[in-house]
Amino acid sequence: MKLDTSGLETTMPVIGFGSNSEMLDGFSSVPSFDLPRTTDFDGFQKKAVEMVKPAKGTTTLAFIFKEGVMVAADSRASMGGYISSQSVKKIIEINPYMLGTMAGGAADCQFWHRNLGIKCRLHELANKRRISVSGASKLLANMLYSYRGMGLSVGTMIAGWDETGPGLYYVDNEGGRLKGDRFSVGSGSPYAYGVLDSGYKFDMSVEEASELARRSIYHATFRDGASGGVASVYHVGPQGWKKLSGDDVGELHYHYYPVTPVTAEHVMEEAAE
């Protein structure tokens, strides 16, 4: 099977006397993925995933509104049933005006977003202008399509502001790419959609939109075991992205549902009977 390794290429000059030895300069040969020599690739991948249990699970959301794009995510990573981290950065800063969200396999999302950032920068240098959100999402979708069926797990949203205004695309490991103005991805997305869809209005202010995003993530973390940690909210405007808030969802719970103190004397009197 011929894999598209263009995402792994480097344009570094070959140092040394035109030799192709990787040890001499580390850059000349195009790196490619090691594949296991087995007749049953899918079975091997299934077993490998069960063994190593890469980190995944999440709630992310993004929506376009009057003032730009609002992007929010939780920060929990789980390995099987074990919470491997409560502080994962799921909103990846591809460049100062584009964000990517992470859902699915943590390593897959981290690696391909970093790779996308490199390709976007190369595009800028080659074309003397910023890449559009449409272009960036297409680059990512094409890369993922070429690895279709090999077990990558990526459910990401590319959000940004380019010449045509705010842009939001959903890209997944099947190679699917959808343009839209409201998405939520991850195990907690059904819960987030409920809150997001019922509260959404195009004409919201930045404060209203960020509160809606925060509340949607909070409700998803409340009901989904694989989501939790810190709810981060970012806003992408014409000047680029800005992080608006990062709140621990445990504390958000008591912020939305404060505990009313019960007077202790009342209880004691009844027990004295």
């Binding site: 594949l35 994962v88 396999g105 390593a107 810190v230 990062g246």
Partner: protein, 223 residues
């Protein structure tokens, strides 16, 4: 006709636990020295800690053959880096190199659970924790391996610091002194040894500071 299942697996788990704690100007990396396979002990004196650079030390549990291969790749890449840049790699740079090295075997993973510890560019302690395919994150403390599920909750209890994702930003390095951190590590391994069959024999502790690396050894239960 029942499907024939492969009875040979390229992987094995040699057990063991690794822990690292980052401080304001030091980093403590510790691992037990027991290497096992199934219910047998292969060695009571196998070091799981590898120095990659002056300011970056890797500790890995899992399948030690994969760990050895991974360590060789990193060591040679570091040597090339030194020849090309005339300086040692910093810990954050080594962290990204490790992540990429792990991801390049995404379809045939290194069965290695890594914790990278060291000092960052400013001389502050840093710890990076990984999963087997390369997703990584800078944290204030980390544990990986068979005893990690026993140790992490206790470290969370003692060292839990504000998440680096919170806004306004709060410092996430532990306020512990070096002696307190070493003491905590010894306590934590003694407890993990009681309840995890793959952890024990001896504890190797490496303390990284700007002026050098110190190694300490402590006996653990051998049963």
């Amino acid at each position: 006709m029942t499907k024939q299942h492969a009875n040979w697996s390229p992987y094995d788990n040699n057990g063991g636990t690794c822990v690292a704690i980052a401080g304001s100007d030091y980093c403590v990396i510790a691992a037990d020295t027991r290497m096992s396979t199934g219910y047998s002990i292969l060695s009571r004196d196998y070091s799981k800690i590898h120095k990659l650079a002056d300011r970056a030390v890797l500790s890995s549990s899992g399948f030690q053959a994969d760990v050895k291969a991974l360590q060789k790749v990193l060591k040679s890449r570091h040597l090339i880096y030194q020849h090309q840049h005339n300086k040692q790699m910093s810990c954050p740079a080594m962290a990204q190199l490790l992540s990429n090295t792990l991801y390049f075997k995404r379809f045939f993973p290194y069965y290695a659970f890594n914790v990278l510890g060291g000092l960052d560019e400013e001389g502050k302690g840093c710890v990076f924790t990984y999963d087997a395919v390369g997703s990584y994150e800078r944290v204030g403390y980390g544990a990986q391996g068979s005893g990690s599920t026993l140790i992490m909750p206790f470290l969370d209890n003692q060292l839990k610091s504000p998440s680096p994702l919170l806004l306004p930003k709060q410092d996430s390095n532990t306020p512990l002194s070096e002696a307190e951190a070493v003491d905590l590590v010894k306590t934590v391994f003694a407890s993990a040894t009681e309840r995890d069959i793959y952890t024990g024999d001896r504890l190797e502790i490496m303390i990284l500071k700007a002026d050098g690396i110190k190694t300490e050894l402590m006996d653990l239960r051998k049963d």
